[in-house]
């Protein structure tokens, strides 16, 4: 603070820097104004601003023998590739021989053009730029006598390597998943879509963290209005920090008060590439392997990536199964409660007698029984997710006791209830997208309440309300239930059915309006012409 005051005295801030300040929101922390001509003063400023942080490496040296010019390079340890710095910058800078007639200006240009043997070299004059490039892995070269520094691209450092994604596994399909590095992720997408129309725009979000966020879309396929809308929503974000794409997701979604996700996130580059080709926009956040896709529609959460790699009949059968699974995970306990409490006549007589016999020893009404079991299961699941891996086995043993024969023998629940809870649990794990499975978890409890109060009437009304709500949602202007409601026949082939690949004639119409033709005519494979064979 004190220093900033001193700097202002020396160099009154010009209008450009104030603008910079406003954008960065860092006016308090980073000195404004431009660089000094004296290296030592500049180094001093760097040291004071970073609080002498030990990972900011400062190397002072001189260039030239007869008329040495003072210089220094500054970089952040760990964010740079040290080999590049030593081999291509430091070595050449320290061993070069320059004529004594060289002015600092000449030296500066000489370094830029001949010595700095790295990919990208930029001029930086403002302190704001200096710090933002320094802290994202660039190396800054200060030279005495010039109020400009060079910023050389030396990004590197340790990242998690590309591994198989831990969510959305597929038996058939690519094995690589996104990493925490934005650049690696964009490269993985580019490798899949080798097209100059794949555009990437980056911006920094988070006033303190200055996180890089990339927006990727295919120009000419993506709907310009949606791209603009995504950018507009991203630009209007003003928060201090972004550590995961979930922060962005919650700030750009259309409606907050809904149990359903209106953006899609994935760890798989092939999913992102396929969605980009359909016209969606990807938002990639540095520091997380989860990439956001917008707009998202409801049916998308039932599409596993393998549906498109497997043949269509298998894929269609699996889609049906998944919708059924989602439905079971929603209503199974509610149906049990209503059937045993209100509508015994709807259960076949032998079964109703069996259930009644089991429930004889149970002291609770069906609703309480179901609630106990469901909550127990949620506890187990939560424990399983957060637990250190070594303790995991203990949980599964205890879990088998709590949801199992012992619970029945203790007379707390009936064995039919155990089966219902188990099938609900398995169904909820089998839902392909975790985001939608978690919505089903919450809605299940609401439906259980309705079932306990009104039986099947309550359950049906609950599902009706849910459907109305789903129909009222939009994701970036696109109706959430499309292409089912509003029904779009040309796109209905990729919903709960999956038509053969040759029949995918059009891209989703609501998401994309410019370029909807996906493939040529006559893509249907034909047996060879018999007359030719003879």
């Amino acid at each position: 603070m004190l220093f900033q005051w001193g700097l202002r005295k020396k160099q009154p801030a010009n209008s450009a820097t104030t603008k910079e300040q406003e954008q960065s929101g860092q006016a308090k922390d980073v000195p404004n104004g431009s660089l000094d001509t004296i290296v030592n003063v500049n180094i001093d400023i760097v040291q004071r601003t970073t609080g002498n942080s030990s990972d900011i490496v400062i190397r002072r040296f001189t260039i030239g023998e007869e008329n040495p010019i003072h210089a220094a390079i500054v970089f952040t340890d760990g964010l740079v590739d040290e080999k590049i710095i030593y081999n291509f910058l430091l070595e050449s800078l320290m061993t070069v021989n320059i004529p004594s007639s060289f002015s600092p200006k000449d030296l500066f240009l000489f370094i830029e053009q001949k010595l700095a043997a790295v990919g990208g070299v930029k001029h930086v004059q403002q302190w704001f730029d200096v710090f933002s490039s320094l802290l994202s892995g660039q190396t800054i070269i200060f030279i005495d006598g010039i109020p400009t520094a060079l910023s050389a691209s030396t990004k590197g450092g340790e990242y998690r390597s590309i591994e198989e994604p831990s969510t959305q596994l597929a038996i058939r399909g690519p094995r690589e998943g996104f990493t925490e590095s934005l650049r690696t992720n964009t490269a993985m997408i580019r490798r899949r879509i080798k097209n100059p129309n794949l555009w990437l725009e980056t911006m920094k979000i988070g006033e303190v963290t200055q996180t890089d966020v990339g927006i990727m879309y295919i120009k000419g396929i993506a709907n310009d209005e949606i791209v603009e809308e995504v950018k507009k929503r991203l630009r209007s974000i003003h928060i201090d920090s972004v550590f995961e794409s979930g922060y962005i997701e919650q700030l750009i979604e259309d409606q907050t008060f809904t149990l359903f996700p209106t953006t899609y996130h994935t760890e798989r580059p092939d999913v992102v590439a396929a969605n980009l080709v359909e016209g969606r926009v990807a938002v990639i956040v540095d520091g997380t392997p989860f990439v956001l896709l917008a707009p998202a529609v409801f049916i998308q959460f039932f599409q596993a990536v393998e549906d498109y790699y497997a043949r269509f009949d298998i894929a269609t059968a699996l889609r049906f199964l998944r919708v059924l699974i989602f439905f079971i995970s929603l209503v199974a306990p509610a149906v049990y409660i209503s059937a045993t409490t209100f509508h015994q006549e709807m259960i076949p007589t032998p079964l109703v007698i069996a259930i009644a016999a089991q429930r004889e020893a149970v002291p609770f009404p069906a609703f309480v029984e179901a609630l106990i079991m469901e909550v127990t299961f949620e506890i187990l699941r939560e424990a399983g997710v957060r637990l250190p891996r070594a303790v995991g086995q203990a949980v599964s043993i205890v879990g088998a006791l709590v949801i199992g024969q012992s619970a029945v023998e203790a007379g707390i629940v009936s064995s039919a209830m155990v089966i219902i809870v188990s099938i609900t649990a398995i169904a909820s794990f089998a839902t392909p997208s975790f985001a939608i499975a978690i919505s089903a978890r919450l809605i299940r409890f609401l439906l259980m309440f309705l079932a306990a109060m009104f039986g099947f009437y309550g359950v049906i009304i609950g599902l009706l309300l849910m459907t109305i709500h789903l129909c009222s949602l939009r994701s970036f202007g696109v109706p959430y239930m499309s292409p089912l409601a509003p029904f779009i026949p040309a796109n209905a082939g990729d919903t709960i059915f999956r038509v053969p690949t040759w029949a995918f004639k059009e891209r989703p119409r609501l998401i994309n309006q410019a370029n909807i033709i996906r493939q040529g005519e006559n893509q249907r494979p034909q047996p060879p012409d018999e007359t030719n064979n003879e």
């Binding site: 039986g455 049906i460 029904f487």
Partner: protein, 362 residues
């Protein structure tokens, strides 16, 4: 006025769901005995003609709902009164259908639950949908249309598979001549459900492709008429004409008869789903018409602000409309048809058309 639009397919779906509404569960035209299908189909044909009257009026005023052009045709004072009458009529129909619906649930599954609670749950759902607007109602319709058809087709297959249909129960045709058939037509099937299509005059301004309105509405009404006729015929063929005319819910009785493979039986849930979906759309469309009619009449810019007061009013009205179910039915059959439906569905629209036609000529 809401700015959103619905497309031709959504209009089709809404009309079909609306026409099925609660009519598919009640003994529609049951007094015509085995000629019930004739009564329904003739009611439908006259209903189609009636629709052409409404459509002609709509062509004169393509941007206005019924409560809007009625003021233009009959002048500001009478117009406002008539518009108010129609808003009240739609609200009355909301209450009526809601009462029907609640009583059905009460007698068939929830004898101990208070009627008010059953009605309130339904009305809250309708209010939520109408609050979200016509677009949401129409999209919900598209989803449930498929479900209803899946239910109807599988129900039909089960009825046939259970060997319940006895064609002889449909004979003799016209046992007591045309007189009985037309009596039923002009006492019931013309007004409910076909004359009730007048409520869609409130929705026509929202259609994004007005050229298709006529063909879509006519085909939707025809489809519903045929479906209802098939459904009632099946009921008669399964239960017999006497049982149908005495039964409160012939469809439920038919479904309860189904027994296939000692496993598929007691499919009351089918009935309940059909009842709730049908009731929801019927009440929903009436309520939406009442809300936008009131908003238009009283110059309320955001129609959804009227959803809560009017919803509460029709909920209370549904309880107050009759002191018990027999009274409610008697009122519906004997009083409402002659003194409410006929003037508002036939006489007034025809007069309006005549005035509009004359004024057009002048």
């Amino acid at each position: 006025m809401e700015q959103t639009k619905i497309n031709a397919r959504q209009l089709f779906v809404l009309i079909v769901l609306f026409e099925h509404g609660s009519t598919m569960v009640i003994p529609l035209g049951g007094e015509a005995k085995q000629d019930v299908w004739l009564a329904i189909l003739i009611g439908m044909i006259i209903g189609l003609l009636l629709f052409l009257v409404y459509y002609r009026l709509y062509l004169y005023y393509p941007d206005l709902p019924l409560t809007g052009y009625i003021q233009d045709i009959t002048g500001p004072i009478f117009g406002k009164i008539f518009a108010l009458v129609y808003v009240l009529y739609f609200l009355y129909l909301v209450a009526r259908v809601l009462r029907d619906f609640g009583e059905l649930l009460l007698t068939f599954a929830y004898p101990e639950t208070p009627l008010f609670v059953l009605n309130a749950i339904m009305m809250l759902t309708v209010m939520y949908a109408v609050y979200k607007g016509i677009e949401v109602l129409a999209r919900t319709g598209e989803l449930f249309f498929t479900l209803l058809y899946v239910l109807a087709i599988s129900g039909m297959i089960l009825v046939v598979a259970a060997k319940l249909i006895d064609i002889h129960r449909l004979q003799p045709v016209l046992e007591e001549g045309w007189r009985r058939v037309f009596k039923v037509v002009f006492h019931q099937t013309l007004y409910i459900p076909f004359g009730e299509i007048i409520v869609f005059t409130m929705l026509f301004p929202y259609i994004n492709n007005p050229k298709k309105t006529k063909i879509v509405a006519l085909s939707a009404m025809t489809l519903s008429g045929i479906n209802l006729a098939i459904m009632m015929t099946v009921n008669v063929a399964v239960l017999g004409a006497d049982a149908v005319s005495r039964s409160t819910f012939p469809l439920l009785n038919t479904i309860r008869e189904i027994q296939v493979a000692n496993f598929l039986e007691r499919l009351d849930v089918f009935f309940m789903i059909a009842l709730i979906i049908g009731g929801f759309f019927k009440i929903g469309v009436f309520f939406y018409a009442a809300v936008i009619g009131a908003a238009h009449l009283f110059n309320v810019k955001e129609h959804h602000r009227l959803v809560y007061p009017l919803g509460l009013a029709s909920l209370l009205l549904s309880i107050a409309v009759a002191s018990n179910f027999p009274e409610h039915v008697k009122e519906g059959v004997n009083i409402a048809t002659v003194y409410i439906h006929m003037p508002l569905q036939i006489i007034l629209p025809v007069l309006l058309l005549a005035i509009a036609w004359i004024r057009q000529r002048m």
